[in-house]
Amino acid sequence: MQKVYLDNNATTLVDPKVKEAMDPFFTQIYGNPNSLHDFGTEPHPYMRLAFDRMYKAIDAPDSSDILITSCATESNNMVLKGVYFDILRHGKRPQIIISPVEHPCVTNTARFLSELGVEVIQLPLNSDGIVDGQILKKYIDPNKTALVSIMWANNETGLIFPVKELARIAHDNGALFHTDAVQAIGKIPVDVRDADVDFLTFSAHKFHGPKGIGGIYIREGLRLTPLLHGGEQMGGKRAGTVNVPSLIGMGYAMELAAENLEFEQTEVKRLRDKLEDSIASIPDTMVIGKRELRTPNTILVSVKGVEGESMIWDLNKKGVAASTGSACASESLEPNPTFVAIGFDSELAHTGIRLSLSRFTTEQEIDYTIDVFKESVERLRKISSSY
């Protein structure tokens, strides 16, 4: 049976070139980079190259820091908890602002901080399903807000948030600005200097790098209390022996992601649009979010009368991997906030199917998926009590 992987917003395959680049660092160049001997210094030039590639990929000035973490969850925890230790807990600026569609590693960390007395504001979305400058201006408090944390692109819808504008508003009000760019890197241009953000989170496995490694950009001159205390690695700002093979892999994967941006915006987008148009031609389906506001690889579609988990069950039976953010298996039956913001009927809250492509997705795979998708909708609508 053919297998088609269309869940690239969950994770991606490691680019074979990346895997090859990592390979020597398991059995040949394996020294601890903090050791004094040759084994220890041997990986240094390769690590330097990896950092050069990452700094270049997001246009980070050499004077800024990109700390290596274990994942985006760690990076986001470090920003929110670091800002708690440095600012929030002192009470002069006790408030943080987030969007209602952040990843759980932001929302749950914010909830934890609220138990410690931090005031957490969750912004509403506009009718496009994003946070715009108007909304942030309305809620930000020049005397209270310490940090605004808003994602660059949303994992479920692919909707892109205007981070440059949001960062400017945060700064105008004396607040710091953090963005979780996990879903943006490799899909759309990410430039920390142009966007003028203070902190930016990323994760290698979302752009064809290995799992278990991520990073955080910190603007020059900003202090951030570490999450992990220990040795002197990375200037004591993030202790723990650096995961050298994964760092090498992440650096290369990030360079390839930047090089492939053009391809992403043209070829991946072309295939995505083809799939999206075919699905949209099925009666009573609706794609969430304006196409021009979304990352070029993502489709979130509502299929009337078909529950999301049933749909991914059927797709999976035919080898197509997709996901549903609205599974009845999820903890809560509350509808996705983006659905609500866009003005969707609550009836459709459990019908969301997410398909996310990558630069490895082929046209043949898309053609196969189009057929499978139509068959599955037809079968499930026959069973459905509401179609």
């Binding site: 039956l333 009836e347 026959k382």
Partner: protein, 321 residues
């Protein structure tokens, strides 16, 4: 938690083969038309339960034989996940051949059991158990339509946990009898809250009328009150705390003595109590007509002390201040 819980997300691996097979090819999907029911000499019943907005909706068709009340055929349609579809399919199958009254006795637990591959291994993971509840509810709806009665008439008790069908009364009894202190203990004793977990506390999968945390809190509070009352009832006066002794004395004064004093326009209040050489000295302050009444220092005082000796304890000495 433990080793088996460290890799999450294996939801579908926990479905039995029967669940998968029914999901892939539900035998009783579809509908029964008026004409088909007519041809069978049956009455057509179409019952809807749930709503798409809640994530699950099911429609049940019955062809019920007139006179015998026997369900000759059943079909379903469902908007829901795999377990909802599989449960509905089994439920429809189980209805066929039963009378309406017999069908009402089918529970979600029966449905889940008949989906098992092996008797001792659940057919679906705990968080999916609530999907089978739909199958149970829609039967009651169909029966109520057929009989022209209210659905509530089939439910004898207030159900707190739909998945495990545990009633409010059972949960309250179990807490009392076994002196349970945590929700986990309630779950271990009754299975309530072991499945979709909605009934444990607000904010879960579904909104509920009752939550285990609240029931536990209320019952514990009741038990605590009863225990306190009982303690004060039976406890020996000398081993009571000062506050308990004060309350005890005041309750006797209130019930027995103040009404008598009030007949003459007088009253009293306890100012303090003090322990001295095994005696409890109760300092009182006369109020109203008792103030300045000569008897208050002699006969009345003796009578009050006597009363307290009889009703409370021999060690009491009453001193006016």
């Amino acid at each position: 938690m433990g080793k088996n819980d460290l890799i999450g997300g294996a939801l579908w691996e926990q479905y039995s083969d029967k669940v998968s097979a029914r999901m892939d090819d539900p035998k009783y999907r579809g509908e029964i038309t008026e004409a088909q029911a007519e041809a069978m000499g049956a009455k057509l019943i179409v019952a809807d339960w749930g709503a798409e907005a809640c994530g699950d909706a099911v429609r049940l068709y019955w062809a019920v034989e007139k006179g015998t009340n026997k369900i000759l055929d059943a079909r379903f349609k469902s908007f829901g996940c795999g377990t909802a579809i599989a449960s509905s399919d089994v439920m429809a199958e189980m209805c066929i051949g039963k009378t309406v009254d017999e069908a009402v006795a089918i529970t979600n637990i029966d449905v889940e059991h008949s989906l098992r591959d092996k008797d001792d291994i659940p057919a679906i993971p705990p968080q999916k158990m609530h999907c089978s509840v739909m199958a149970y509810d829609v039967i009651k709806k169909a029966a109520s339509l057929y009989k022209g009665v209210d659905m509530a008439s089939f439910e004898e008790e207030e159900i707190v946990c739909e998945c495990a069908r545990v009633s409010l009364r059972t949960i309250r009894d179990v807490i009392r009898i076994n002196d349970l202190k945590t929700v986990e203990e309630i779950t271990n004793y009754t299975k309530a809250g072991a499945f979709c977990k909605s009934c444990i506390k607000p904010g879960g999968h579904e909104k509920r009328k009752y939550y285990l945390v609240d029931i536990l809190h209320d019952v514990r509070k009741e038990m605590e009150k009863e225990k306190m009352a009982e303690a004060t009832e039976t406890k020996d006066f000398k081993s009571m705390t000062v506050v308990q002794r004060l309350k005890k004395i005041e309750s006797v004064l209130e019930a027995e003595i103040k009404p008598i004093l009030a007949q003459d326009g007088g009253s009293l209040e306890v100012v303090d109590i003090k322990d001295e050489d095994g005696k409890t000295i109760v300092y009182i302050n006369y109020l109203g007509a008792c103030q300045g009444c000569p008897g208050a220092q002699t006969g009345t005082l003796m009578a009050i002390q006597q009363f307290l000796h009889e009703k409370v304890d021999e060690s009491i000495i009453v001193e006016p201040v």
